[in-house]
């Protein structure tokens, strides 16, 4: 059936021309190896009882390397039996040395729960197994028991950071006897999160040294360009990389699909969400298990609505399709996972939340609605379809964003480019200084001590100036009343989550019962649950009645179930101001600079957008606080003479520069090997950060036009607070980036701008493309 649909897709006159490329992946048989002779017979027996009679070659090889005492990272595809690579040595260790301790780190609590269940299953017949999760969900009164009893602790980096390391004396027996540290989903630790983890591990190794242990690191990663390097950067140890999978794979077809052009004049293609939904519905109607990946939480809900509708038309049952994303409550997510494994749920629409190793069983088709921003993610998502045998397919549906269009029209790039590098920068001064505080809190830092491999003497002195450290004897001691780990979140600016509470059915009996339907992190709260927003949960619309965000309040949004045919999209106002210039480079037509900026954003209103047709059907205003962050940026100011040569009209110049901003923002990730969302962009000017007020797109334009001195500036900034080095790189490659911009523009077939170059014409203005081209010629001359 799958084959027939695919044939039709490739050959029919409506969809055939949309297919820009296909690639066939031939099946591969397993490469097996016998159980290693040193494997404890009780463990071998437990494996046989689960129907496992051999190991895959990579599992046997991992055993060998770990046995020899190497730090190891295993890099093999989804569902290739990675977990056994670390579970076997762990179990062997505990069977032979019940007093040894093992620590497992997962990026999420859910994965730790999953893994505990799998471990318990495997270890049921083995002696001396005392395995527990220890995280934010562990009840206070159970924590002491876990600390005292557990010889295998499953936790996450956040808990290690704020709950375990600062209380290491309570965990003395763990740190004295720590044999292995297992880190799964290593690829998840890139960028800021990875830089934090690297520092948490530096602290872990310090504490271990204090107690006289030196644990061995065993890691597992999805395919990325530099797993070995990442593992070395994160652990500070030399690591053996094991990338050859012995697991079998089935027959698989990868399809690139570009939605048809519906308006050649304006360069507009059919909405990719609609196309992705139609494709998914075709598979689901034939009872083919399908996963759809969306690129945002909102896109997830919009897609789910469309797919449920399409499936219900035929089968009358939309319950076989579910949504899955961060923000759903754990019980809801567990139910969806279980439904997928057991086959009651046939289709799921998910954000990248299901990219990680959550066990959801076997699916036949993956529809990737939009390029996930990284080659590694693309293959990870595609890998969710078709596991060990049988045929499967993955369809990449491109959006009209320039990056997507580039990928779908350059399949050789898509298929030929190795997956991204996972970059971490553990010595980022912001991150480093924060973890140094925590380290000093845990154990005084000796004068000669290096942190990881880094010389931190100057930082320590600076922290003394700040009044949190005190030098005595030959050590730096923590000398403040605070608990530094509480003020440092590894993931977002703040760890405060908003609870979304349904008040629809509130009557006397329900007054006290709080119907929590979702959680929203601080970073996206104002854009998604502002008053009057429509918040979708599994495509059911709720209207936000009230948002409580003040410091002394519990963070909640009260919502009511409503019947509406639209959703809301927030309108933000924004501003970027220079705090400090760190580098500059004078070019004939422009000045390039790099440094620290203040980025302020504020949600000021929203648009109402009709479900289905996606047309704009109204708007509203909201009153919410401004959110600010300091980060690093590269910026470019065009010389006044150059501007004068291009156009006498300020308005035209602003439109043209906005077009250039859009283009550079969307092309830079190709050079930086990062996600579009890792960068932010803005057209402002070079006023310093005093008294700046945020502005919407329209009011910012007005402000530039009315300014006394016209010196418009294009900002590209690091989206992560504090910056992770992306802006510095933009500054370095700026000339090449401008050249690539000009090439892209000259090669684009549209007349006056399209989403693939400078943005859709009716958004940027009729002359924007021509102005942008003229500007870029000057800038690259």
């Amino acid at each position: 059936m799958l084959g027939r649909i695919l044939d039709d897709l490739l050959t029919s006159p409506t969809t055939g021309p949309c297919i820009t490329a296909t690639r066939h992946f031939a099946p591969r048989p397993p490469v097996l190896a016998p159980f290693p002779p040193s494997l404890d017979p009780r463990i071998a027996e437990a494996l046989r009882a689960r129907g496992i009679h051999d190991l895959y070659a990579h599992q046997a090889r991992a055993w060998e390397l770990i046995e020899k005492g190497h730090h190891v990272v295993v890099v093999t595809p989804t569902a290739s039996g990675k977990t056994l690579c670390y579970n076997l040595p762990a179990l062997q260790c505990l069977v032979h040395q019940p007093d040894a301790r093992i620590l497992y780190l997962f990026p999420t609590k859910a994965l730790a729960q999953d893994q505990l269940a799998e471990l318990e299953e495997l270890a049921r017949t083995l002696p001396e197994m005392r395995m527990f999760t220890y995280d934010g969900d562990t009840p206070q009164d159970a924590r002491r028991a876990v600390r005292a009893r557990a010889n295998l602790v499953l936790t996450n980096p956040d808990m290690l950071h704020s709950g375990i390391l600062p209380h290491h004396t309570k965990w003395a027996s763990l740190f004295q006897n720590l044999r292995y540290v297992v880190i799964d989903e290593l690829h998840a630790y890139r960028g800021v999160f990875g830089s934090h983890l690297a520092n948490v591990l530096r602290r872990l190794r310090r504490v271990c040294r204090h107690y006289g242990s030196a644990p061995q690191f065993v890691m597992a990663s999805a395919t990325i360009a530099n797993p070995g390097e990442l593992a070395r950067r994160l652990t500070g140890e030399s690591v053996e990389e094991l990338a050859e999978s012995g697991a079998p794979t089935g027959d698989k077809l990868f399809v690139c699909y570009n939605p048809p052009v519906v308006n050649p004049e304006l360069g507009i293609r059919a909405p990719y969400l609609g196309e992705a939904a139609r494709l998914a519905v075709r598979f689901l109607r034939e009872k083919i298990a399908t996963i759809v990946f969306a690129q945002s939480r909102l896109a997830t809900e919009v897609l789910l609505t469309a797919i449920k509708g399409g499936v219900a038309d035929r089968t009358g049952d939309s319950g076989i399709v579910r949504g899955y994303r961060g923000g759903y409550l754990p019980t809801r997510r567990r139910a969806v996972e279980k439904g997928l494994r057991e086959g009651e749920v046939l289709g799921v629409v998910s954000t990248n939340a299901l990219e990680l190793g959550v066990d959801i069983g076997h699916l036949d088709v993956a529809v990737l609605a939009g390029y996930p921003g990284a080659i590694a993610s693309l293959w990870q998502q595609a890998g969710r379809a078709g596991r060990r045998s049988g045929s499967s397919a993955a369809v990449f549906v491109a959006s009209s964003a320039p990056l997507d269009q580039f990928m779908v029209t350059h399949p050789e790039y898509l298929f030929g480019t190795p997956p991204e590098h996972a970059r971490v920068n553990p010595d980022n001064p912001f991150i480093l200084a924060n973890h140094l505080k925590c380290a000093a809190f845990e154990l005084p830092v000796a004068d000669a001590e290096r942190f990881g491999d880094t010389d931190v003497r100057r930082l320590l002195a600076a922290l003394e100036d700040e009044g949190v450290l005190h030098h005595a004897g030959d050590r730096w001691h923590w000398a403040a009343e605070t608990y530094p780990a509480d003020h440092i979140s590894l993931r977002t600016v703040t760890s405060d989550n908003f609870l979304v509470i349904d008040t629809t059915a509130r009557d006397a009996a329900q007054v006290k019962r709080r119907q929590v339907i979702a959680e929203v992190d601080w970073g996206s709260a104002f854009a998604t649950i502002h008053p009057k927003a429509i918040y979708l949960v599994e495509s059911e619309p709720y209207e936000v009645q009230e948002l409580r965000w003040r410091e002394d309040e519990e963070k909640v949004a009260y919502v009511k179930r409503v019947q509406v045919d639209y959703f809301t999209d927030a309108i933000s106002a924004k501003g970027v101001w220079i705090l400090q210039r760190l580098a500059d480079q004078d070019h004939p037509a422009y000045l390039a600079e790099q440094g620290e900026v203040l980025v302020a954003e504020k949600v000021v209103g929203f648009k109402k957008i009709k479900l289905g047709t996606l047309e704009n059907v109204g708007s509203g205003e909201v009153e919410l606080p401004q959110q600010e962050k300091q980060t690093t940026a590269a910026w470019l100011t065009v010389a006044p003479e150059a501007l004068a040569r291009v156009s006498p009209s300020r308005e035209e110049l602003i439109d043209g520069l906005r077009a250039v901003t859009y283009l550079l923002h969307h092309l830079a990730p190709i050079f930086l090997l990062c996600d579009v969302r890792d960068l932010g962009s803005w057209l402002g000017d070079t006023t310093p950060a005093t008294g700046g007020a945020v502005a919407t797109r329209e009011s910012a334009k007005r402000r530039l036009m009315d300014a006394e001195r016209f010196n418009p500036t294009v900002y590209l900034y690091d989206a992560h607070a504090g910056g992770i080095g992306l802006a510095e790189r933009v500054f370095e490659i700026l000339p090449a980036l401008l050249r690539r911009g000009l090439e892209t523009l000259e090669a684009c077939a549209c007349r006056a701008g399209c989403p693939s170059c400078v943005g859709p014409v009716n958004e940027v203005g009729r002359r924007a493309r021509a102005t942008a081209q003229a500007l870029l010629r000057l800038l690259t001359a």
Binding site: H167, T169, F441, P444, R458, H470, W478, A479
Partner: protein
């Protein structure tokens, strides 16, 4: 650049480290102590002695050493010290914060014990944070010598913190001793009658101590950090005095408990009621005796209401219906004069009339009255509903059979 920075740092440190002026007196002189060699480095120890007759507020120190320790331990649900009062160690710490975890230091540990006819307070002080090994080395034998510990909130704060310091220094924690944490019995006895159970409150209300010029606990960490940076010790004198007063208050409080257990006649009504709460789980008869004594001594207000209901519950359990009836009736009558409404005595009385005395009319009258009061006091819907439900049932049972 690095070396210049280093140099600056060295200079700055020399500047801040040097005592201000050649004539400045050493820390030990300002604080009145001496430097001891602990075997793990020098340590400033400040030692003060008090005669047992010393009056701490209204309370002399001596009674603490005659306190019935096994009994007190039983009442506090603690292990009994294997010693008489002479082996007790009274302990209180001043710390660099309340955050807990490995980065909070106990920079001043005050320990008190009896030596012959004197009470000795020894205070071990970190002149700088690197002297901690010396402090732990000095403290370890003191703890090892002791037969039991007396603290105020030591379970929740001082002892885990000290244990953390010992474990962090890779030393054996010598503090696994029978431990009498006076906060627990103090809560049982005083929570109903005092605004809170902070040590300062107990000092004022129970042992009659008003501290002069006391330094607020919340300021202590920053006073110490200031000292570390400036080396000016004079402001710390108040912290030392604060810590000594805390240790003496432990002695005085223990003495109060010891006397209270054996000499009820000296106690006021509120204290008797509190003592009843302390006895109740251990020796019921004595507990109830205290309650009755408290009521006889004129206990009033919410405290009396609570005691009546407790007593009544025990009378009900031993099926002493008349006694229970009297107490509930008193409680209900008392309830009429209170601002709030407590349904419990009314419900108990209604059940008693309905099921024991089979007097449905009286039960109905009682419930009707209760319903009026509940309505007037704005009681919760649940309470009102329950009473209305009971009233309706009584009406049904009273109605002539058709």
């Amino acid at each position: 650049m690095q070396s210049l920075d280093d140099l600056r740092r060295v200079i700055r440190r020399i500047e801040t480290r040097r005592p201000p002026g050649a004539a400045a007196r050493p820390v030990e002189a300002i604080l009145g102590g001496e430097i001891q060699d602990t075997g793990a480095g020098p340590l400033l120890v400040v030692r003060r002695e008090y005669p047992l007759a010393h009056a701490h507020g209204r309370a002399p120190l001596a009674p603490a050493f005659a306190a019935p320790l096994p009994l007190l331990a039983a009442l506090a649900r603690a292990e009994a010290p294997a010693t008489d009062g002479r082996g007790l160690l009274f302990l209180d710490t001043e710390t660099t914060g309340l955050a807990g975890g490995t980065g909070t230091y106990a920079f001043l540990v005050g320990a008190g014990w009896r030596e012959a006819d004197r009470f000795v307070v020894a205070q071990y002080f970190l002149r700088d944070l690197d002297e901690e090994p010396a402090l732990l080395a000095a403290l370890a034998p003191v703890l090892e010598r002791a037969g039991g510990l007396v603290t105020f909130n030591g379970t929740g704060f001082d002892l885990p913190l000290l244990e953390t310091r010992f474990v962090l220094a890779r030393r054996r924690w010598p503090g696994l001793l029978p431990h009498l944490d006076l906060l627990r019995p103090a809560r049982r006895v005083f929570a109903p009658s005092l605004a809170d159970c902070r040590l300062a409150t107990l000092e004022r209300e129970v042992i009659g101590l008003e501290r002069d010029d006391d330094v607020p606990g919340a300021l202590i960490p920053s006073l110490y950090f200031d000292f570390l940076r400036t080396r000016r010790a004079a402001p710390l004198a108040r912290v030392f005095e604060h810590n000594r007063q805390d240790v003496l208050s432990l002695v005085a409080l223990l003495g109060w408990f010891g006397r209270a257990l054996e000499h009820h006649e000296e106690l006021g009504a509120a204290e008797l009621a509190g003592l009843g709460r302390l006895w109740e789980p251990v020796d019921l008869a004595r507990g109830l005796g205290c309650y009755r004594g408290a009521l006889a001594a004129g206990l009033a207000g919410d405290a009396a209401h609570g005691v009546r209901l407790r007593l009544a519950a025990w009378e009900k359990r031993r099926r002493a219906w008349d006694e229970a009836h009297a107490l509930w009736t008193d409680a209900a009558r008392h309830d009429e004069r209170r601002a709030g409404f407590d349904p419990r005595p009314w419900e108990e009385l209604a059940k008693l009339y309905e099921h024991r005395r089979r007097d449905l009319g009286a039960a109905r009258a009682l419930v009707a009255r209760a319903l009026d009061l509940a309505g007037a006091a704005g009681a919760s819907a649940r309470v009102v509903d329950a009473l209305a439900h009971r009233l309706a049932r009584l009406e049904r049972r009273l109605a002539p059979r058709a």
